[in-house]
């Protein structure tokens, strides 16, 4: 049990002690315990490190206040380091070395050579183009990033409030409590130009001011949207898992500034580790008197609870989320009234996304000017993206707003997997769009993306290579929306079903030429007449693929052909020039569709072919292609 801090001076004393303890901890091993590396077995690596060090009699500190003295080695479970592709990851301090693809078998060597000998193990280092990169900061994946929200993610123990205090955590809160008025806090946030990181990009300061203006209401709410439902996005998860106190601090500051004393974090049920880490963080903050009544003796209060989602994408929409927290079906309602006026339990509610709240402490601590020092005029600061798909370096990244797609995909992401050709990037999830080669130099910020029919969304970037069929991708998203549509309004419920029917028909080879016109018509109708943002943006993936890849739609409809070989019903097997004429395919074809003479190239009669794939499976030289 921690001692409750009753005043600012008691807070300062603990802060100093934590900072000193961190200073004293010279040698540190940070074992990444984000979802990715845990799946890769890093908890076993952590346990093995601990067991072996104990067995060898090497003093190790698991918690900051273990107090083994200056020589002890800090062993920490940290949040996500971001470079999931190369996980499980282990970071060694003070050198800042990063070990990749670590397994339990490497533990002895790490202890003997690195911990006791101070030597770098080349085998575990990142293999760059010009040899091994020892330091994490030298790896191109990290070097080109600007990590602000994720600054400490992976560098501190996510389950320890002392570690958060040791890097200056809750300092911004004390400023908001004791130095600034609520209006001054809101002004700072407004001046920073911070816009909502959940997708729509609404100015955060403006939202806060609207909630603060309801001075007549004794109960107001701060709600944190951690319902990161876009397929292909995991920034918020990593933030909640890796630096949960930062999110909580942002929420308390919002509460203090707007005069709201109640807070709810809505987290998806699919994120059990985020829920666990947030709970631990909330308990610790409550013990210290940072959460609850009379925070640090300031007379101000803030109560926080977690509400676990139950698997409904639409709950990422504000009014659906508040309905869900109240225990109803999570369906959006008509606006106005907006949630800042009548939100959760009919009270004024300030609803922001995880990353938005995580940006707040630094803005208050370092000022609006500092925040604006990166990013663009209209979109200041940084943005975290989840970089996934057919790209070499998948993982979690953070870059200044306005960074180009090319820098993200090719410089940070290391280009396309298996040297294939870049085709498109899907950005913004089911509400977003597909960007092509022509957009590679487009700056990633709210306004530039909007101008080409995409949105930044929550920040999922799914990279696709030449083997991804764009009609299939469009159908994939439409199918997703169909299933996730709450069914309240007809345009979204019926319209997306109709669009999905048409797209499915096209991918099965039954498309008609007027289908493209039908799709566009339905899309416009859904955009104009749906009730909530989910419906209004649902046609985006179809429209943007139609805009950039209409020829692929035409091929599917007219030629009954899928050039990528993804749409199975359209698959055509072709024998390429690699064929050595061994006759094996012809002998294995169950319908006798393959003909040819020995040692000569064979051919497939596509009208007879039943697409069973027996020829491809049996070809000894890989001469048969699907597509």
């Amino acid at each position: 049990m921690r001692q409750r801090l009753a005043s600012l001076s008691e807070f300062r004393a603990l802060q100093q002690a934590c900072m000193a303890a961190r200073e004293a901890e010279k040698r540190k091993i940070l074992v990444c315990c984000g979802t990715g590396c845990v799946a890769g077995g890093n908890l076993n690596v952590y346990q093995a490190l601990k067991d072996r060090m104990d067995a060898l009699g090497v003093a190790c500190e698991v918690a900051l206040n273990d107090n083994h003295g200056g020589d002890a080695i800090g062993l920490k479970k940290s949040g996500c380091h971001g470079f999931c592709e190369k996980g499980p990851l282990v970071r060694i301090e003070p050198e800042g070395w990063l070990y990749t693809k670590v397994s339990v078998d490497d533990v002895d060597e790490i202890i003997q050579k690195t911990i006791l000998g101070g030597e770098f193990i080349d085998r575990l280092g990142y293999q760059g183009k010009d040899g091994v990169c020892k330091r994490q900061e030298d790896i191109p994946f990290y070097k080109l990033q600007t990590r602000r929200v994720l600054e400490h993610c992976g560098h501190i123990d996510a389950e320890s409030v002392e570690e958060y205090l040791s890097i200056g955590g809750y300092e911004a809160l004390t400023k908001a409590l004791f130095e600034l008025s609520g209006d001054e806090v809101i002004k700072e946030v407004s001046d920073s130009g911070l816009r909502g990181r959940g997708g729509a990009g609404f100015p955060t300061g403006k939202k806060w001011a609207q909630v603060a203006a309801h001075t007549e209401e004794p109960v107001k709410y701060i709600v944190c949207n951690g319902d990161e439902g876009d397929p292909g996005a995991f920034m918020d998860r990593s933030c909640m898992e890796g630096d949960p106190h930062k999110v909580i601090e942002g929420m308390i500051i919002a509460g203090v500034a707007t005069g709201s004393t109640e807070g709810v974090i809505y987290v998806r049920a699919e994120y059990p580790m985020a829920v666990k880490r947030l709970k631990i963080a909330m308990e610790q903050a409550a013990e210290l008197g940072i959460l609850g009544d009379d925070i640090l003796g300031s007379g101000k209060s803030f109560h926080l609870r977690i509400s676990k989602g139950a698997g409904a994408f639409v709950c990422g929409e504000g009014s659906a989320m508040t309905a869900s927290i109240e225990g109803h079906r999570g369906m959006p309602r008509t606006k106005p009234p907006r949630s800042v006026d009548k939100g959760l339990f009919e009270k004024p509610t300030c609803l922001n996304n995880v990353e938005t709240f995580a940006n707040v402490p630094d803005i208050i601590k370092k000022g609006a000017e500092w925040f604006r020092s990166v990013g663009t005029e209209g979109s200041s600061g940084t943005k975290a993206f989840a970089l996934t798909g057919n790209v070499n370096n998948t993982g979690l990244i953070e870059v200044p707003m306005g960074t180009t797609m090319r820098e993200v995909v090719f410089d940070i992401g290391g280009g396309i997997k298996n040297d294939k050709e870049f085709k498109a990037v899907q950005i913004g999830g089911p509400s977003g769009g597909c960007l092509t080669k022509d957009h590679l130099d487009l700056p990633l910020d709210f306004d530039s993306l909007k101008s080409v029919g995409a949105i930044i969304g929550s920040g999922g970037l799914v990279v696709m290579d030449e083997s991804s069929c764009m009609v299939n991708i469009a159908q994939f998203f439409m199918n997703f929306i169909c299933e996730e549509s709450c069914g309240k309004c007809t345009p979204c419920r019926e319209g997306t079903t109709r669009m999905n029917d048409i797209l499915t028909r096209i991918t099965q080879g039954n498309g008609r030429m007027d289908d493209i016109g039908q799709l566009k018509k339905l899309a416009r109708m859904i955009q104009k007449s749906s009730l909530c943002g989910l419906g209004k943006t649902a046609p985006n993936p179809v429209l943007s693929t139609l805009q950039n890849f209409e020829d692929e739609y035409v091929e599917h409809i007219r030629d009954k052909r899928c050039r990528c070989g993804v749409c199975k019903d359209l698959a055509q097997f072709v024998i390429t020039d690699k064929c050595i004429g061994c006759t094996k395919c012809a002998r294995n074809c169950p319908v006798g569709a393959i003909t040819g003479t020995v040692r000569q190239k064979h051919t497939i009669d596509t009208s007879k072919c039943i697409k069973c794939g027996a020829c491809k499976a049996n070809c000894p030289v890989g001469a048969i292609k699907e597509g």
Binding site: C84, G330, M331
Partner: protein, 157 residues
């Protein structure tokens, strides 16, 4: 139908102060115990917190995580999110269905061991394609690894 111990449910209700607004959390806790929401449990909850059965049913069926059908010992959640999709999660799903004898219509395997659920995104996109078994994430799956996984789980059970 298994006989339900209403005491367990009453304890859960007690913990949430019979608060209607906590109905989702209550059902999550009940599902944690039974791995699905038995009909009798829902009827009992509705009566105890003064909510109509139809309203409760409405909430229970709205959310994808709630199941009104019994589930296998191992719930294999196959991620069909975008990142997994482009890394061929459809093939992984097919392999799992073949290995367990399940289909889209058949929700629990004959031996009572397996249930396959399709989820839209587990947020482990960096490791795609992924399958989550109960709370453990299995990364970079292939059809072969999927078959091995089912075999391993069978042995474990």
């Amino acid at each position: 139908m298994q006989q339900l111990d209403m005491k367990v449910i009453d304890e859960i209700l007690e913990r949430h102060n019979y608060d209607k607004s906590m109905i989702i959390a209550i059902m999550q806790d009940v599902q944690e115990v039974y791995r699905y929401l038995p009909q009798e449990a829902l009827e009992h909850i509705a009566a105890k917190i003064g909510m109509s059965e139809s309203d409760l049913f409405g909430v229970a069926t709205f959310y994808g995580n709630f199941s009104l059908d019994a589930k296998g010992k191992y719930v294999l959640k196959v991620c069909r999110g975008t990142a997994c999709h482009v890394r061929k999660s459809a093939d992984v799903l097919q392999a799992l269905q073949e290995a367990t004898g399940l289909s889209e219509k058949k929700s629990i395997s004959d031996d009572g061991l397996f249930t396959i659920e399709i989820v839209s995104c587990l947020g482990a996109c960096g490791l795609s394609p992924v399958v989550m078994v109960n709370d453990t994430v299995h990364a970079t799956m292939t059809p072969e690894k999927a078959k091995d996984l089912v075999a391993d789980l069978r042995e474990e059970a």
